[in-house]
Symmetry: C2
Subunit: 406 residues, 2 copies
């Protein structure tokens, strides 16, 4: 039986996403648009190609003149960017190249390799078909066509397409500014003196990198000591951010101090126990205008929860569809026991079998204190509550961490 005090991963994610909104738009130069999410459709400002153009190097002529053995007189040339201003009449031919505008009067292309030229006389060696090797105006897109929809993360190809459609500026969703707050008396920054019994801060830096990998703009706040006052003082610094992510809480039960500290600044907490492993304790709430996502202090739990909850939150805030993180199907490389009542997220390596299929093999030990093992994992294998035992070779759903850069 599921613990009635706990909610499912899906419900938790739905509640988080319901509390967030896409960021408004900003205008960026095309050169800065890569990996940003379009806030408006990109509509072509011209027709491409703008005119009928040649798909090959050769000659433009009236196709009816292009029978084998015919001889024609060269009346000019039309390099790309230098259209021939006149018209091609009977018995006439114009030199052109790939991308050259087909001159008025011409409806056929004689390929360079099918022509013999002697001075201004060209002899046709292969018959010319009307329209062949001509790219029609608008074959790629017409003026007014939507070439990139709103809500799409711009690839390098999209950048090229927006350029071809004559857009020097792109309207994109702003990058969410995410403040990251670690708490704990025992936490030291890397390279700084470590107090007795202390550990080096890792969550803030990993989460900042994850925010960056997902297209957000992270700010790492100074570590807050384990007092209500210190956390309240940190809360005063997050006005104007789009999201506050906290990690740890720490010494008297994860989040207790974070909650009491942030409550002095108006935090309203939504929930904080999820039927999952690793990472049961989680909070989501609202502190004034700033949504607050509270992750566990344990590094493995914090990063798995970030993949499950922060990643979709950042996607939604950038104008992408709301939903779970992207999953792929894979073949189990080792058997799995049946799962208990908590959704599990098994750290696993990815390989490719002889048939080219993606194989995931969970590590035999899944201790949530092993950050090194998490870092060497390529994927998380998703195990629903009470999922049955599976044999090696069964299909499972996985989150690829490697291809996400997280």
């Amino acid at each position: 039986m599921p613990d009635p005090a706990m909610i499912s991963v899906d419900e938790a994610r739905a509640r988080i996403l319901a509390g967030l909104r896409p960021m408004p738009a900003e205008i960026v130069a095309l050169a800065n648009a890569w990996n940003r999410v379009t806030a408006e459709p990109v509509v072509a400002r011209l027709t491409q190609p703008p005119s009928d153009v040649s798909a090959m190097d050769g000659y433009a002529l009236r196709a009816a003149d292009g029978g084998p053995g015919a001889t024609l007189t060269v009346i000019g040339a039309a390099p790309a960017g230098h259209p021939f201003a006149g018209e091609v009449g009977p018995g006439q031919i114009v030199r052109l190249f790939t991308g050259s505008v087909v001159p008025a009067g011409a409806d056929g292309i004689l390929l360079q390799e099918d022509a013999s030229r002697n001075g201004d006389i060209v002899t046709v060696n292969e018959a010319v078909a009307s329209g062949r090797h001509i790219r029609r105006a608008g074959q790629d897109f017409f003026h007014g066509d939507t070439v990139i929809p709103a809500g799409r993360r711009m690839t390098a190809r999209d950048v090229g397409l927006a350029a071809a459609a004559n857009h020097p500026w792109i309207s994109v969703h702003r990058q969410p500014r995410v403040a990251i707050l670690a708490t704990g008396d025992e936490i030291a920054m890397p390279g700084e003196p470590i107090p007795p019994g202390g550990i080096v801060s890792s969550n803030s830096h990993a989460l900042a990198a994850l925010v960056r990998a997902m297209g957000g703009d992270p700010t790492v706040l100074p570590v807050a000591k384990d007092t209500t006052e210190a956390i309240a003082a940190a809360a005063d610094q997050v006005v104007g951010f789009d999201l506050l992510v906290t990690t740890g809480g720490a010494s008297v039960g994860d989040h207790d101090l974070v909650i009491s500290g942030l409550q002095t600044r108006g935090l309203v907490v939504d929930f904080w126990q999820i039927a999952m492993r690793p990472g049961k304790p989680l909070l989501f709430g609202q502190m004034g205008a700033v949504p607050v996502l509270g992750l566990p202090g344990n590094p493995v739990s914090a990063l798995v929860c970030a993949a499950l909850f922060l990643l979709p939150a950042l996607a939604l805030m950038q104008g992408l569809p709301a939903g779970p993180p992207p999953t792929v199907s894979a073949i189990l490389g080792a058997p799995l026991r049946e799962n208990d009542r908590r959704a599990d997220h098994l750290r696993a390596t990815v390989s490719t079998d002889n048939a080219g299929r993606v194989v995931v093999t969970p590590f035999p030990v899944q201790d949530s204190a092993m950050l090194r093992r998490l870092a060497s994992a390529d994927a998380l294998v998703l195990r629903a509550p009470f999922a049955p035992a599976l044999a090696a070779g069964a299909e499972v759903s996985v989150i690829r961490l490697d291809t996400l850069g997280i």
Copy 2:
């Protein structure tokens, strides 16, 4: 029969990669290390956990004292970051929390939920097993362990792991500085006046985004006119770059003008015809200290060639293994005819079937002038020269463009 004047995609790539070297190292702050490639292994500067620590909230005691019904005296507390300085003697017990250092003398953890506390007296409700719920010093890693190898692109988890291993600085390969040169009288920047018969520059911007997506540092040079002198003048501006990528050539046969222009500045060309589609003409050479990769002027050909040749080049230059771009196996969503003598790279959409398998469906029309269609493709289906016809459902190898952000 393959055309003897052409070389294969694999041979071309091997020749390109043989002409490149990994960039030397630089030191970056950990906060800037995400997505960079390590030039040196990251070796742990401490042991994690540094001492035996509790995996749970509860009490530390001598396990032998922890029989059911036993009563023990609380002699102190050890919040995380505040180790208990004394030793736990017989009949004594110390309050601690997840991550707390296990005090000297104690070898067992009584879970909070298995204890009844009344003032300073704790009654044991469940037997305590020696060593249970204790994370041993070094369980994650020991001082001196290599936690991240050289030559790895840092994920967010790696950033966290390097932090936990106490590294504020990371040695990474420098980002290759890539100069991008488009040539052509007909080319206008987006938003600028377009000459008669002209087109808007798209390749430079798409290639710059691709270089950025692959971890390089792009510089878009001004478009060079179609004269030897203009291209030679542009060549004078690329001293100190790590790679020059050219695109187009243009009006008298791709690359002819680029080659003659760059030859005035010492270009030595390696080859320039590849048995592939789209994108047959390609050049690779060396101009002084700067390697030169010449891509076709056609936008679709340029981007496909970039995926096949520039992407591996940038990987190698960043210290990653040399080789073809990453491919995955997928199921064909439509039948394919047998291929001719040129390796083909079919633009295709990706979907997921009911069994969760990745399905690729090539567009029926593969015209290399259709940038919009390339931009809407999720993958390139690789077709070897003379590959046989395939039925829908057959397995093929594909390059995922979507997950690469290119």
